[in-house]
């Protein structure tokens, strides 16, 4: 992409910066431009989606040859000064400026987020000018569905919703079912606490998602699709609805798309606040207007999904990666990342860390790079690990990785080996003041509240686990409790019906594994415990 010739201020208008006052800032900038006149009139002011450094909003990016950058924490009073800087009349606001060499931005590699913060999410013309829908049109004119699936297989892309299933294989499975109706579904339920990647894509670049979903529909032979968005994301829903309307009006959705014989109807379905509906079989039930309870698999949705027809379900980020993969080729994408985890991944970095926001890096980047270099470590934290005690990945299905293992590359296998998960991409940094049994209890409360109640191990088991964790968090546990805790975790893991119950013990097991001494210290007679040297923390590698 070539840098725009003209001077331009891109103002973040996603919900993060909005809540920090982006609306007033944008209005003040427009007003200041009118008042200043002269050179300031040559500065374009454009609303865009997420500029990624969400914790420092409201953010405005300046495009100016040689001296561009992102300005953070702006007030409406600073609008005239910012315009003066943009017009080259001032060098002010220097201490609020972050250049492209700032570590938060320098190491990022935007693929899914390449249009995020650049395109105006409410304008299909702007999206088209940036090349969106170009790949859909090309594919419809030039490629067979098999050729599209071949590129996706070559890319090595794996599902970004948590399980990491190879996307190309899933597309093949759906496409190769006996002839008949099929559906595509985009999972935009994003329920993991600490995750906001999908929200940002929906709010910032909805046309990219629609393009990815339409290419997927073509590749598997579906003519009807749904995007299931959680109700907690009103701005995302509004922008997606608007984008769908615009795409229909331009003939990019509907009958005979872009002059081809391909038809696709897409509809939005809004959730109603049940985390378990992110699970694919529950999500399908919810789209059909039922209670969102999971059902056993097989049959998998790819074989029998909506109203019994083969249904492709992919996560927002998975689908948003498709246009770039088709444009640059599967091999290009597959050259990034590690052997088993290709491409880039978007992480939502939050918690006790200086720079919070969205981070897209190649798979295999170390946790240390993400949390310390890009994230800047714990504010005021010291030492080689920047004050980090643990990094939580994978939400309620994942676990806590101790600071001693910060050099772990972030990929599906490495995180799983440590008893955590990639999950959807939430990464919550914890400093020394966070107690691990309390973290485990936090997640168990979540699982108790969100268990759908269909199967006993999850419904009753999580409640019992929570009671036990209360004892540890409140320093009144016994040694026998530690044993019961581990046994019960194993039982719930092995016998629950769906991923929610199966993974609910993970935060407990991972903190037991890496921070066992904290559980032992919470027992009434800690001296009776096994020696502390048996903790994996003490036994850290060379």
């Amino acid at each position: 992409m070539t840098a725009p010739q003209s001077l331009q201020l891109r103002c973040c208008d996603a919900s993060g910066c909005r809540s920090a006052g982006a609306g007033a800032l944008h209005a003040a900038l427009l007003q200041a431009r009118d008042q200043l006149g002269g050179a300031a009139e040559g500065v374009a002011i454009k609303p865009v989606g997420c500029l990624r450094l969400c914790g420092r909003g409201p953010l405005v990016a300046l495009d100016r040859p040689g001296s561009g950058g992102i300005y953070a924490g702006l007030t409406p009073e600073q609008a005239p000064e910012l315009l003066a800087v943009a017009a080259g009349l001032s060098h002010g606001l220097a201490d609020q400026r972050l250049g492209p060499d700032h570590p938060f931005f320098a190491l990022q590699q935007p693929v899914v987020l390449e249009g995020c913060g650049r395109v105006d999410p409410t304008s299909i013309d702007d999206a088209l000018a940036m090349g969106t829908y170009g790949q859909l049109q090309r594919v419809l004119a030039e490629c067979t569905p098999e050729q599209v699936r071949e590129q996706v297989k070559r890319s090595g892309l794996r599902g970004r919703g948590g399980a990491g299933y190879p996307t190309g294989l899933k597309w093949d499975t759906v496409a190769l079912q006996p002839a008949g109706l099929r559906y595509v579904v985009c999972n935009a339920d994003e329920g993991d606490p600490g995750a906001f990647m999908d929200r940002s894509v929906l709010e910032s670049d909805p046309h990219r998602l629609i393009e990815g979903l339409a290419i997927a529909a073509y590749a598997v032979g579906a003519q009807q699709g749904y995007v299931y968005v959680r109700a907690e994301y009103p701005l995302a829903i509004e922008r997606l609805q608007l984008a769908l309307k615009q795409a229909r009006a331009r003939g990019l959705l509907g009958a005979g798309i872009a002059g081809s014989s391909f038809n696709l109807r897409l509809e939005v379905r809004v959730g109603a606040g049940a985390y378990v509906c992110g699970e694919e079989t529950a999500l399908l039930a919810s789209i059909q207007g039922q209670r969102g309870t999971p059902r056993p698999r097989p049959p998998f949705p790819a074989q029998s999904g909506l109203w019994g027809h083969p249904t492709l379900i992919n996560n927002v980020e998975t689908l948003a990666a498709i246009p770039a993969i088709i444009r640059e080729g599967g091999d290009w994408y597959g050259a990034m990342g590690t052997a088993g985890s290709k491409g880039t991944k978007v992480f939502a970095l939050s918690g006790a860390v200086a720079n919070t926001g969205l981070v897209e890096v190649p798979m295999g980047t170390s946790l240390r790079t993400v949390v310390l270099t890009i994230g800047g470590g714990v504010p005021g934290g010291e030492g080689p690990d920047g004050g980090v005690k643990a990094v939580q990945t994978g939400g309620p299905s994942g676990g806590c990785i101790p600071a001693a293992l910060l050099d772990t590359p972030v990929d599906y296998e490495s995180l799983r080996q440590l008893g955590s998960m990639m999950g959807s991409g939430g990464m919550v940094v914890m400093g020394e003041s966070t107690a691990m049994p309390a973290v485990a209890r936090h997640f168990m409360r979540f699982s108790v509240a969100e268990s759908c109640g269909k199967c006993v191990p999850c419904r009753a088991g999580t409640v019992q686990l929570l009671e036990l964790l209360d004892r540890f968090a409140e320093h009144r546990a016994s040694l026998a409790d530690l044993e019961r805790l581990e046994q019960l975790c194993g039982m719930v893991q092995a016998t629950s019906l769906c991923g929610l119950g199966q993974a609910a013990p993970n935060p407990v097991l991972s903190t037991l594994r890496h921070f066992r001494q904290e559980y032992q210290a919470a027992c009434r007679a800690p001296q009776l415990c096994e020696p502390l040297t048996s903790c994996s923390l003490e036994a850290k590698g060379p």
């Binding site: 993060g16 809540s19 606490p193 379905r269 039922q290």
Partner: protein, 161 residues
């Protein structure tokens, strides 16, 4: 109001062409109409979508965002998601319980405020966050009691008299 709401509910069902799979959409819209899901409205939805009442109740009670009781006049939601938890969300909830004189997640009483928890609003970059009557309030300054009190006041979260 009542007759008009009944009429509008019928219109909503017709807009969805009476399709059973639109039940959740219809319930969302009915809740917008009344502020909650009153019993007679659920009966009406069941009748007009030609669904068993048990199915409609089953769905309405399954999803956390559907309310079967009238809500308090004002609602404050404290995020207790992981990022907010790390940034002191529980402490924020405790302070608000004190200030508003209501218990977290207590069923709607006769007070003017309801205090409830949510598990992540996707605003984790600005933790800890609240939602006050639909408005997101980011970065509550827990380490600065005076600034915090000012923010509470600006959000209309006045101490119980």
């Amino acid at each position: 109001m009542a007759a008009e709401a009944v009429e509008r509910t019928s219109r909503l069902v017709r807009q969805h062409r009476g399709r059973a799979d639109a039940l959740i959409e219809v319930l969302h819209q009915v809740q917008e109409l009344y502020g909650f899901l009153p019993r007679p409205a659920l009966h009406q939805v069941a009748r007009e979508l030609q669904l068993p009442l048990a199915r409609v109740y089953g769905v309405a009670s399954f999803y956390h965002l559907f309310r079967l009781e009238p809500p308090a006049a004002h609602r404050c939601a404290v995020c207790l998601g992981t990022a907010c938890f790390v940034k002191g969300g529980a402490e924020l909830a405790a302070q608000l319980e004190q200030r508003l004189g209501v218990r977290l997640d207590a069923p709607a009483g006769d007070g003017s405020w309801a205090l409830e928890h949510v598990s992540c609003l996707g605003a984790c970059g600005q933790a800890p966050v609240l939602v006050v009557d639909g408005q997101l309030a980011p970065k509550l300054p827990l380490d600065d009691p005076r600034a915090l009190a000012l923010r509470f006041t600006a959000l209309g979260l006045d101490p119980r008299p």
